[in-house]
Symmetry: D2
Subunit: 340 residues, 4 copies
């Protein structure tokens, strides 16, 4: 952390600031120039609140040099995290595909979709039982019944299930769920994150609509600092001024996160674009970028889906996309690296 002091700071004020900084167990270096004085902080600055430093009367500006997260930081954990769940792995070189309907609607809808995505080669089944909807008048999900149907579909197909938790009070219902998803709107629901940090269960954490990558990593840190290191990060598009797509897929997040963290990275091309015809192209792009997994919405009858129909693939479209996704995975994971 580098702190630039205001010109008018007195020696006593500077000394007080240094004393305060030393309470955080860091070392300080004061550089005195003609027009400005700078304090460099050395050591673990994670616990130094940058806002508190900024608030000091004699501080002109502050800049962090080290990242404010530890558990999620590749610097301290050089090896990729691989998360094993239900005999499948996320991270560590292979590509996982999570597929299924936006919402669990009926047993017939879910079972048929589950069987279809399994046949097409999906590794995990997704489906929403609790649905965060902008309007209170829209379908809100089946709740507990939806989770029961997902568990039934897992029994039928063997696919581990991924489903979203919307509130801490529902946590007990997720006891048998394989991967708990935290939606974009809950990325900074810190109470929920801490509670999930005390579970021994993989968490798929979606980036908030306008969250920075550092904020995403800090939310992962909330979960990890409570003891649960099984966090999967998900880029699902960010909010920008562009109206053609539902969100803007920030694809450079994949190699950037790869540099900064050891956690697995998922791309959700369905929410990132909101447009059926862009799901496959953005899936291939995600593989090219090095994503560890894809989360894709599939519905047996998108035009009658109870939510997100416009971005859902039919089972046929998904099966066709999977062939191209797997071929692309093979190219990037095996051929291209072999050549290099």
């Amino acid at each position: 952390m580098v702190i630039v002091l205001k010109d008018q700071a007195t020696e006593q004020q500077v000394a007080e600031l240094m004393d305060w900084l030393h309470t955080f167990d860091v070392k300080t270096n004061l550089v005195t120039g003609v027009h400005s004085r700078i304090i460099g902080l050395i050591g673990d600055t994670t616990s130094v609140d940058i806002d508190a430093v900024r608030a000091k009367a004699i501080v002109e500006t502050v800049k962090r040099v080290q990242e404010p997260y530890k558990n999620a930081n590749r610097r301290f954990h050089p090896d990729d995290t691989v998360i094993e769940v239900g005999g499948r792995k996320i991270g560590g070189g292979s590509l996982s595909v999570i597929a299924g309907p936006c919402s669990v609607e009926t047993e017939d809808q879910l079972m048929r979709t589950a069987i279809a995505v399994k046949e097409a080669g999906a590794d995990f089944l997704r489906g929403g039982a609790f649905k965060p909807r902008t309007s209170p008048y829209a379908f809100q999900g089946l709740g507990k019944e939806g989770i029961d149907l997902l568990l039934k579909a897992r029994k039928e197909t063997g696919l581990p299930i991924v489903t979203e938790i919307m509130d801490l009070s529902d946590l007990d219902l997720f006891a048998d769920v394989d991967v708990v998803q935290v939606g974009a709107r809950n990325m900074q629901n810190f109470t929920l994150l801490k509670a999930l940090g005390r579970c021994d269960k993989p968490v798929l954490l979606k980036r908030g609509l306008s969250a920075t990558l550092q904020e995403l990593l800090m939310s992962a840190e909330y979960i990890m600092s409570e003891g649960n290191s099984k966090v999967i990060l998900c880029e699902r598009g960010i909010r920008t001024y562009e109206p053609e797509t539902r969100n803007t897929l920030d694809i450079s997040a994949v190699p950037l996160l790869r540099q900064k963290t050891h956690l697995p990275i998922v791309i959700d091309p369905s929410h990132a674009t909101g447009i059926n015809s862009l799901v496959e192209p953005m899936s291939l792009v995600a593989v090219a970028a090095g994503a560890d997994a894809l989360e894709i919405e599939v519905h047996i009858d998108p035009k009658n889906a109870w939510s997100d129909g416009a971005q859902s693939l039919t089972p046929e479209q998904f099966a066709a996309a999977m062939k191209r996704i797997r071929a692309t995975e093979h190219f990037f994971h095996d051929e291209l690296n072999a050549e290099g």
Copy 2:
């Protein structure tokens, strides 16, 4: 709602779509032109899910004409909502000022601040007991103890208290709180909103970091549709590309929301800017825009505040600002209108 159909839609497909639309209790008008067909929906379209319409195979594009909210809509409730709490009013022509520290830190800090803001003319005391912080290593608030201190400060000063709820599981602790605040990061925590909709307590709902005004009104609708009509909307700055300010205050939201809704509107100049020296100017601007209330952070010692010190006013700064705020209120509420 206006639905434009794709060129290739068959007559049977159009008939099926019309049948489906009629299940929502709306009337339809089909216009057939040379190159395009358009369906106009007439009646209450609130319950028609625009995403579901968009998902239909033969739909080219859809546009809502009516707003998708009812309870919050000025069209159906022309008179301004005035919320009475602890003998004070928010909305209806007067300006309320909510002031206090970002976080409740100690009894001494809170009591001194509470007395100071009361003397300066504040109407409500704010203070955070549960703090949503980006970092798990930053101060997280005093929790229940913080609420107890707020209640004590209310007893001492008579000021009703406003404090933030972060999770539904804490709801019982808010039984004696006057106004429950929902923070920007929880604006779309729909489970929490619904639960607050079943309380008989005013809710101060902050706009999300990148929420549209329509999404803010839909979140208000979540609370109101459960029976609680005491919702206060708060603009606290939105996330943009501009780095100089913490957020960008969207001041035109005040007259725009005024047109669309009957609910009271608060401006939070502290979070909107993040800069101490901009708090007073933006407070005057908010009064000029017609805001019903201001929420301002005040701390007895900002440079040692445990959170948000850089944007907090000292009691002296607040007292000076209040004189100018009240003079501005008097000008806009009394003089200017009298002239007109």
Copy 3:
């Protein structure tokens, strides 16, 4: 400027970097800590290209402490710049109102509008002769004929004229224009800015659609560094994700720019909102924020305007708004300060 070095930098590399930095006539201070080394630059760093520093192999991160602009910087020119033109002043305590149609359409339209805005108390007449339109099929302005009509209207009313230049090749046509406007889309047309820097004519420089305040000031610096110090800055709304308004008025730009620069500041409430009914409220807000001038679109028949009709005021609406604008000016400039 503060430069943080990478851990692995060798002593020789650091020495080379220091040598290179010294070629810019600045002094350096190297701080060596346990885990990091920091170089502080002291002196005038305006000519040090931050991108060039960032490109050095051993540089981890760089932060500017001083602003990269000199001529526009209040630090070096503490007194407000006041620009006199045609017997009127912009800046220095009074409020100027620039009003007129978006486009000059016909002699009748312009003359009637000019007379109307003069009667209502406007200080300057605006009107577009060269129109930057998104579509090549939309009305592109009358060109030279438009400027001739503006000069005629000036003769008739005595109001100095403000009109936009779209390309350097038209510069000769602006010889008799009082204030040359540079539109948002040209804010970083550096060739044009430099050429205007060599004219002795006030330039009204509009902030780009997604320009930062620092970029706006750097564009002013382009004009000023060529010798023309008569620059007027204009905030006209920035592009955000919010769809209700054409742009989002960044009102905190007024006090922020006031701190950073001595140049006058104009608010354009018409383009900032795009909505007729928000123009007056945002004008009052701009006065409350301390703007030096307003630029308002007025049209004798908005519903038949050839451009921007939806945001134009009728002469009657403008006259009513002017009464309230002048009363607000009086309050903020005279009464409020007298009290304080």
Copy 4:
């Protein structure tokens, strides 16, 4: 175009509006419902100014159904445009690589870079002679001398050259240039676009920092409507709130533009990210998305580059990247499609 009328519109007002609409040579259909009336426009609505419609007193809201561009529209030109220049093609199935330094600095720098990129397999040489720089104190380019050096490098290597024009007044200097680039800051410099529309020379048009895809296509339409159909579109990252990257690469723009237009599409991974280590990953991603070309910054000594060093590849990095780019091209263009 669909026009929704206000409730209170009188029959005479509606008739007048219809008459006015008919002057644009379009047909109208009026639908009268219980609560609302809607006018559907049929025919070529390109020349109907949506802003003018919106300004009409009785219009509640308007929505375009057809795109407002014709020449750039795939609907009217189903076949991909292929642009031939100097014996090379852009568009039509192969991948072109444009490479070279951000700025032309010296003869030695340019020649060595040109030879290096040619050897690595680049198809075009890029280099800036006129540089749009945020600061007037930064290197502004060599101007005419830079273009002369580029022509010399073309003679030496046979690579056609791509270089940016900043102002119309320099157009004569571009007579021998192969592809004229219009930078992001000039995307809506309409005077320049029209002038380039009257040249018989390919134009590489970069998307503005916060331009929508529709605005990009409208700027292409400016060029094309003047007669020059050789327009190449370039996505180079858009401005968002995310600070880690210089811009955010909007990769879904590639398949979206492919649907909407027949023009070739280039990705500039250097400006999109601003980070050396992300250039190769984003190049592979661009190939996976189906881009027709890449524009990559290469410098013989990035750490001493006069501009954009942090995002430039060394010749060695570029050569290594090119192997992987060509292998990826081969996979996507030949193998993957062959399988399907």
